[in-house]
């Protein structure tokens, strides 16, 4: 685990803000120009990731969870993209760095693994050589040293006979093993932050369990901070310390994992929780899908984006975009919804006991006529 370039890099000192977290994303917005109009993919997203912790970002396709993380890595820069806000990594704003400076951080201090390991690995090169390239891109070491590091990493991620397997090509590995290779490559330079974008979605459940356990173990051993992006609430419950739920480009709820699952507060989070079949609940609990579908991200009004699908909108919603504010009695629980707390508790009480949104709305005194499925 030796890092030949242990010497501090020429970092500008962090701005005097007290102890900053490893990664602080502040009011990050990303918009893309398209033929149909401006797509507001990420809208004023803020979060912190502390050293050695895992942040789970949950959302559906198009919620902006991947775009926000790609932007952290500087991978969404293009002439059609407008990026505002700040991404402070160890106090340095990554959005202002030049391409060359960013390249020195990417794959070195911040690493990323993607959903599809087959398309992330070069099919013509041996996996060992690909890891060696990643090591040598950031460290002034000989090929031999780099290979030793590659073999060490392959062993660390649980690939049997790593010295021999380093000479295999990607197609000679199974999906789970390929994802292990990706993880080995991502971690070969001891990154401080690992961004995992749906790392297990393409894998079988048993392999998924192994990969999640692997990330968990490596994080404990190496102290890496992790941003885990997924659509699966089960996956974040198993791995994350904090959770941010994204909807239509915005964070709608953010809380420590235990708070979020003990008392989810946003109607969209309720919808997600009630739409997954669970092995730990009786089989006859009906799934309640969130009616309708996510809005187009073009020309969204400055109003709660979830209102059109929210079964509890009647009665307590105020016009305009609700701010992301602290929930009552839970300073670490952030929420973008203006529903009164008593009503929230009533509704979640009914939902958690297996009731339908209609029953929950009635219990909270919300009159019917809402929550109709949009055609």
């Amino acid at each position: 685990m030796s890092d030949p370039q242990e010497t501090p890099r020429d970092l500008p000192p962090a701005e005097a803000e007290g102890p900053t977290p490893l990664l602080r994303v502040e009011d990050l917005s990303v918009a893309f120009r398209s033929e149909d109009g401006v797509v507001q993919a990420v809208d004023r997203v803020s979060y912190d990731v502390e050293q050695g912790r895992t942040l789970g970002i949950v959302g559906e396709s198009g919620s902006g969870k991947s775009v926000s993380s790609l932007t952290v890595m500087g991978l969404t820069r293009s002439s059609a993209a407008t990026i505002t806000g700040r991404v402070l990594f160890q106090g340095r704003d990554l959005t202002t760095l030049g391409a060359e400076e960013l390249r020195r951080i990417r794959g070195n201090e911040i690493a990323m693994i993607f959903q599809d390991p087959l398309s992330s690995l070069h099919p013509f090169y041996r996996v060992g050589d690909q890891i060696i390239e990643a090591v040598r891109a950031h460290n002034d070491v000989t090929r031999k040293q780099a290979r030793a590091r590659a073999v060490e990493m392959l062993g660390l991620v649980g690939i049997p006979d790593p010295d021999r397997r380093a000479d295999s090509y990607p197609h000679e590995f199974s999906g789970g093993m390929r994802q292990r290779v990706m993880i080995a490559m991502a971690l070969c330079n001891d990154p401080k932050l690992l961004i995992a974008d749906e790392p297990t979605t393409a894998l079988d459940v048993t392999v998924q369990a192994q990969i999640l356990e692997l990330i968990d173990r490596l994080q404990r051993e190496l102290g890496t901070a992790v941003v885990m992006i997924t659509h699966d609430l089960g996956v974040v419950a198993e791995t994350a310390d904090d959770i941010a739920v994204m909807y239509a480009g915005q964070i709608v709820e953010r809380a420590p994992v235990h708070d979020l699952f003990a008392m989810p507060r946003h109607p969209y989070t309720w919808g997600l929780l009630r739409s997954i079949p669970r092995l730990d609940q009786p089989r006859d609990v009906e799934l309640v899908p969130v009616d309708g579908r996510p809005p187009s991200l073009i020309g969204l009004p400055d109003d709660c984006h979830f209102r059109a699908r929210c079964p509890y909108a009647a009665g307590c919603c105020r016009p305009g975009m609700p701010p992301l504010g602290q929930a009552d009695g839970a300073p670490e629980h952030w929420l973008r919804c203006t529903m009164p707390p008593e009503r929230r508790e009533t509704i979640w009480g009914v939902l958690a006991a297996g009731g339908t949104p209609r029953e929950a709305a009635e219990a909270a005194g919300i009159t019917a006529g809402t929550g109709e499925e949009a055609a």
Binding site: P160, D232, E238
Partner: protein, 331 residues
């Protein structure tokens, strides 16, 4: 070679222990009487589908001009099970276990190497393509990928109407359109979108189109091969509930194939767990989850992530306890 845990040897004869996949199981038969079985379809035998010793081998050939067979991949190695009328039967397993190959053989999209497929009391395995007409009407399939399973150049109307045309069921444009719009309404699509193309629909809506096409002929058996694994969670639930509603309302028998045990449990009355081309366990949904008999089933169940942060801690504790002291009696 590096893919499998060595402890899970597919050839292990032990894989069969505790496994009685077929009819002679009075206990299972007793439990199965519970689900809503349509009265009017009873009487011709309680099983809509009886699969016996189904085998599929894909030959491995060598040589450019003269191809000779050197070996074979045994994708399905003697699978037997029944689907009862009106029930949802689940086939669960990981990639490569042969579940999709089994489904395709039952649909006769591919030919079985050996074995029998009795549909409605008649063995369809030996039938030739030309003789499959009525069978094709009675068995329909919903596919995993709602993007590649719809022709991008056909309108929704013609996609859903195609089976009606093929089997000569709709006479005249007016009748056909009326029927198609009825189907669209039934699966929760706006009938006014009759003339739209697939790309104008989201993934969930496309899967609804695929389902409308599949039920257009009022099939007796619907085979759904991973129908929701390409969809977002909130949309998944919509499609699962749609399938459950259709199954109930239309009295369909449903063969539901998936890799996700939590989805399968929600949908199915009885479940067969497949591993390496064989059924290693077959039980009712309740039994399978309460007391998984086969180690592989237990492994699958253990791997499903549960949206409860305490579950992980409990599981890790249980696992640690189990691995450190295997001889200690369970608490």
């Amino acid at each position: 070679m590096s893919t499998q845990d060595p402890s899970l040897n597919p050839q292990a004869e032990a894989a069969i222990d505790g496994l009685q996949p077929t009819v002679e199981d009075p206990q299972a038969a007793a439990v199965a009487a519970t689900p809503a079985v349509r009265r009017d379809t009873l009487g011709e035998g309680d099983n809509i589908l009886e699969v016996r010793e189904l085998v599929k081998e894909f030959p491995i050939t060598k040589g450019l001009l003269v191809r000779r067979r050197v070996d074979a991949v045994r994708a399905v190695r003697g699978v037997s099970f029944d689907v009862r009328r009106g029930e949802t039967f689940g086939l669960v397993g990981e990639s490569g276990c042969g579940k999709s190959t089994t489904a395709r053989m039952i649909c006769r999209l591919i030919d079985p190497t050996s074995g029998s497929i009795a549909f409605d009391g008649r063995d369809v395995a030996p039938l030739r393509r030309g003789e499959l007409g009525p069978f094709r009407r009675d068995v329909q399939m919903v596919f995993q990928d709602p993007y590649s399973s719809l022709n991008p150049r056909h309108t929704v109307g013609s996609i859903i109407g195609a089976p009606l045309d093929i089997h000569g069921l709709a006479t005249g444009q007016g009748e056909r359109k009326r029927r198609v719009q009825e189907l669209m309404d039934l699966v929760g699509l706006n009938p006014e979108h009759y003339n739209r193309l697939p790309h104008e629909f989201s993934g969930g809506q496309r899967q609804r189109i695929g389902i409308a096409r599949a039920i257009a002929l009022e099939p007796k058996l619907l085979i759904a091969d991973e129908p929701v694994s390409a969809l977002d969670v909130s949309i998944q639930a919509q499609i699962l509930n749609l399938l459950r509603r259709l199954q109930r309302d239309l009295g369909l028998s449903l063969l539901f194939i998936a890799h996700d045990l939590s989805v399968v449990r929600y949908m199915c009355d009885r479940i067969a767990v497949m591993f390496a081309g064989e059924i290693v366990e077959l039980a009712t949904s309740e039994e399978l989850y309460a007391q998984p008999g086969h180690p592989y089933t237990r492994r699958l169940l253990d791997a499903v992530p549960v949206p409860d942060p305490d579950a992980r801690a409990r599981r890790l504790r249980a696992r640690a306890g189990a691995s450190t002291d295997a001889s200690a009696p369970p608490a």
